[in-house]
């Protein structure tokens, strides 16, 4: 992340909503409706928007337990592979997953307090 402009993590581009956006952009580029440079700007807006919405609009809390199979910390990014995970939420009931991959960036960006 550069210090010139405030940039946001591109982490969420791997989510379903990000994936859908990328596929749609790909299609528009293929149809020559938009330029790749414009596509990059759209994705940048997406990074910013989703970070802000998750930080400001979502209030839910989540707890989970499992067996940690793999952990990695590199370039300020934690990656966990957790097996036999049980999730608990405030409102919904528990649900279970055989395997979950957790990719987590530092919430405190370089240069911030």
């Amino acid at each position: 992340m550069t210090a010139q402009t405030t940039q946001y993590y591109e982490l969420y581009r791997g989510s379903t909503i990000g994936d859908s956006l990328i596929d749609t952009i790909d299609e528009l580029i293929n149809e020559e409706r938009i330029e790749p440079q414009l596509a990059m700007k759209i994705l940048a807006h997406f990074d910013k928007t989703i970070s802000e919405v998750l930080a400001e609009k979502v209030k839910a809390r989540l707890t989970f337990k499992g067996h940690l199979e793999t952990y990695r910390f590199c370039d300020d990014v934690w990656t966990f592979l957790v097996k036999d995970v049980k999730f608990k939420t405030e409102n919904t009931s528990e649900f279970h997953a055989e395997k979950v991959k957790i990719v987590s960036c530092n919430s405190k960006r370089p240069g911030e307090l």
Binding site: G14, T16, K59, H67, T92, V103
Partner: protein, 405 residues
Amino acid sequence: MSKSSVPDVYAKVIKDVCEASRVDFEEGGVDLNALEMLKQGWQKRLSAEHIATFPWDPKPEPASKPEPTPVSSSAKPVHTLPSNGATNTPPSSTSTPGPHVKQETQQYATQPPLQANHAGKRYSPTQPVGGAERAASLLQQQYGEQAAAQVAQLQQQNQSVVAPAAFAGSQRQQTPYELQLQQQQQRQQQLEYQRRIQQEYQQRQQQPHQPHIKQEFKEEAKEEFKHEDSTYGYPQSYNVNTIKNSQVDGPADAREEYEAEIAHRRTLVAQHRPASDRLIRDQVLASQQTLEAGGLMMPLGSHRSSRSKRTVAQRQAASSSLSRAQGDAPGDEEEDEDAINSDLDDPDELDGANEGDDDVTNVMLCTYDKVQRVKNKWKCTLKDGVLKVDGAEFVFHKGQGEFEW
């Protein structure tokens, strides 16, 4: 965490992204219809994932049975045109077709007795009944004396054709239903032929100096005469095999060139489409690899090849001004010898882990506040995450994880 908030969150994200991008679209001189298409396509793809019911999804309609096909429903009145002759029921009197079909049915009512008389003769659905005579009459109308020779030839061929047919068809007997099917096919062929004749006649009148049309028609007429015809005296059928599929109003070469060009363009698109498709997606995947310090989790055996590919993708990403995450730029473009691999990694374990990664669709993308470890007990404090588990999506503001390694 409330699952019901996911559609609202996603809807807001889409709305805000589109609003923020509007300025970029206008500055780039791009039609705002493209922005609308982006929004619609994005929503459509999200809906296709079936992770939640989104605000833009249409309300589920009451379960309605699909319309039964005309073939399956015998109670429905059969409104199919003669072009679907095979689907019409044999007893035409019981159905309620349009007047056009009815008239023809009545008109052809005399055919079964005629065919009964000629039951010994071979009858094929594809062969005309009196088509030669019809062609002859039309030729005479349009060309007069010029066609006299061809008409005579036609009549001679009819006579010569009937004789061998009589021997070949003696064994075949047709049911009334089959006969009616054949009649309907003939009616269809006759309609097509009439339509084409009219078109040619009109064009001939408009452009009298087009000898190639006339020649083509004559050639077609000649082809008719060569085929076997029955002598049932049925004037309104035509052998569809003799009709050329190409248009008569112009040289056939133009159409062939056109089709060749179309085929060529399609092959070009097919060749280049895979490359151009998912262009942005590949770049984003490359950035994700760098985000995850990609390559370290891969088996040692495939590390170099994947790393070189990733390097290329990263260079492409850099050239297209794709921003990278967390200062991983310096190390990624170095040679493979500088890769910080650990020889202690067990390839088998990595393989198992990576294969699981490929299959696992359960991913949590979030930020972390704190990650602690005491011996083999890990505790993580996470924030602002998106979780996808077994096809279901969740979002959370704060998360607490406890693992045992």
